[in-house]
């Protein structure tokens, strides 16, 4: 087994996703401790240029037309073949809409241990330890990784994007696909790509708003949304929401803040009845001030917010809106 740290590079529509750089930053720290190298693994078609700013010692590039758009089975087949020949210390994936399923699939195929929701891996007495954040961010779990190859699915939070970028202008090292053509073609027959849809512009672009009145499960019912809208109107801001609100169709997808929605940087982010799961908080860390209102004192949102209120938002909102209106 080598001491190298592999990082699976996520990209969509020709753009490297932020989580890839964060993982490279993590990998650099671990490789320095293990004495190995950081190896970025880039799969795709005509995307060799993405290698240039990756903070890795080596970028392995597998190019194939059937890897142009992300097909789980095809990326899995390539990684499986790659890892059958190599035994790195760790392989890092994003715990994202792309990497999460791949890490699980690879774990099943190769019988490799997997740690998900991982916030950080750190060296400890010659071994690597992980810290994962589960139960919507309410619990941390720590443990020692085995000294054999392990798979890690990482959530953002511990590393910055800039730390994983490089000015050295890497070039990609092509890796041949020996014998995989047939498998990729066969898989591709099972998946027919119909096209991408850009996020709906919607009535409001929440990434440009100075004030966001954002609601989570604590709003309880669709009828109560008008309370949030009233406050947003009074503050000349907009209403946004966390995943459960969008899944209930109470707000359109264009208003979703979080992992599969928008990343926002308002001056004030009012988190109303939002518990603060990592999938949500990763998209609001750029806000100047987060004000959280939640009845649950142990809600993780209070660990991120600058200001907190422990009250029922349904009691607070009408009074607050009246007060704001009175100021104008």
């Amino acid at each position: 087994m080598s001491q190298d740290i592999y990082v699976f590079i996520e990209h969509v529509c020709g753009k490297t996703l932020d989580i890839s750089y964060m993982m490279l930053a993590q990998a650099q720290q671990l490789a320095a401790a293990s004495g190995g190298e950081v190896v970025a693994i880039l799969l795709g078609h005509n995307v060799a240029g993405l290698a240039s700013d990756l903070g890795a010692d080596t970028v392995w590039y597998v190019d194939h037309p059937e890897l142009e758009d992300f097909i789980w089975a095809n990326s899995l087949a390539v990684l499986e073949a790659l890892l059958a020949r190599q035994s790195p210390r760790l392989v890092l994936f994003g715990d994202t809409t792309i990497g999460s399923g791949l890490a699980s699939g690879l774990s099943a195929r190769l019988g490799l241990p997997l740690v998900g929701y991982c916030r950080q891996v750190f060296p400890n007495g010659g071994h690597f330890h992980y810290i994962s954040q589960i139960c919507g961010g309410k619990m941390l779990v720590e443990g020692a990784l085995p000294d054999s190859t392990a798979l890690i699915a990482m959530i953002p939070g511990a590393f910055r994007i800039e730390q994983g970028k490089s000015d050295e202008k890497h070039s990609a090292t092509p890796v041949p696909l020996d014998g995989l053509d047939e498998i990729l073609a066969r898989n591709a027959q099972k998946y027919i790509f119909k096209g991408y849809t850009e996020p709906a512009a919607g009535d409001v672009d929440i990434t440009r708003e100075k004030i966001l009145v954002s609601v989570g499960r604590g709003i309880q019912s669709e009828d109560n949304l008008s309370l949030a809208q009233d406050l947003a109107d009074a503050l000349e801001g907009a209403v946004s929401g966390s995943r459960p609100i969008i899944d209930q169709s109470w707000l359109p997808t264009s208003r979703l803040v979080g992992k599969s929605g928008k990343t926002v940087k308002p001056k004030v982010y009012l988190a109303l009845g939002i518990s603060g799961a990592p999938e949500h908080t990763e998209a609001i860390t750029g806000a100047d001030a987060i004000i959280a209102v939640n009845t649950d004192p142990s809600a993780p949102i209070f660990n991120l917010a600058k200001y907190g209120v422990q009250l029922d938002l349904l009691d607070l909102l009408p009074v607050l809106t009246d007060r704001v209106r009175a100021e104008k």
Binding site: I134, L145, I211
Partner: protein
């Protein structure tokens, strides 16, 4: 069309979470277990597909405190069969082990499902997601983070979500495993009368499972609540006092 929906129970995050005496895991007895919200969407999507093109929906779940309620609820929503996997899960059931139990269950059946729908994630799974594990063990195609599902001529068309709000539409051949992020419409409400009827007339099949194979996960040595680098500065008082302080804060922050 045969649809299988393997579901998981997860800790209710609204309730207080208690760490077990060994300091490594949740106290299972002190935890209130509920259906994972994404699994609830998976059941809904299965019922929606059945309502559209017919077929048979089977919901399968490991036996935890609360599993029977969840399964009767699935029956009340329109599932045709519900199955409880019975075994000693108190030691710990991880996602890899659950995936193997579902694979084993399928191996004992003469017919394979055309479609397996699972929730995209479970909030307490430290060792990955059920959907891709199943797809890899069963050698089936898999699409993750599916927020819309349509079916026509033995082909499923799904909308997969990517970070940042981008989506992609894929047509996938059956049989396939889907990781459901959201059903086409929100999970339906089950009136108490329907639930009572399901409990009276429906039945839960029980499948005994053998020894668990927990490999694929990594042991934990410690579980603890996050210590915040910074804790929010709490604004105290009754509703009127807090509203007044917030107005002052909005002014200070330059937004009012």
């Amino acid at each position: 069309m045969k649809i299988l929906v393997p579901i998981q129970l997860v800790p209710d995050l609204v309730e207080e979470l208690v760490i077990a005496q060994d300091g490594k895991r949740l106290d299972l007895d002190a935890t209130r277990w509920i259906i994972s919200e994404f699994d609830d969407h998976a059941i809904e999507q299965a019922i929606l597909l059945k309502e559209k093109i017919g077929g048979e929906v089977t919901v399968i779940a490991p036996d935890f405190e609360g599993t029977e309620d969840v399964l009767y609820q699935a029956l009340a929503k329109g599932a045709d069969q519900v199955v409880k996997l019975s075994g000693d899960f108190q030691s710990e059931l991880n996602t890899h082990a659950l995936a193997r139990l579902v694979v084993h269950y399928l191996q004992t059946k003469s017919e394979r499902p055309d479609l397996i729908l699972t929730g995209v994630q479970a909030n307490s799974s430290l060792d990955g997601s059920l959907g891709p594990l199943l797809a890899a063990y069963l050698d089936l195609p898999f699409v993750d983070c599916v927020a819309q599902t349509e079916i026509e001529d033995q082909k499923i068309t799904v909308r997969k979500e990517y970070p940042g709000g981008l989506t992609a539409d894929w047509s996938v051949a059956l049989p396939v495993v889907l990781g459901i992020q959201a059903a086409n419409t929100p999970p339906r409400y089950v009136p108490i009368s329907k639930m009572r009827l399901a409990m009276k007339t429906g039945s839960i099949a029980t499948e005994e499972v053998g020894e668990l194979d927990l490999s694929g996960a990594v042991d934990s040595t410690r579980m603890y609540t996050p210590e915040a680098d910074q804790r929010a500065q709490m604004i105290d008082g009754d509703v009127d006092q807090v509203a007044e302080k917030l107005v002052a804060l909005f002014k200070e922050l330059g937004v009012l």
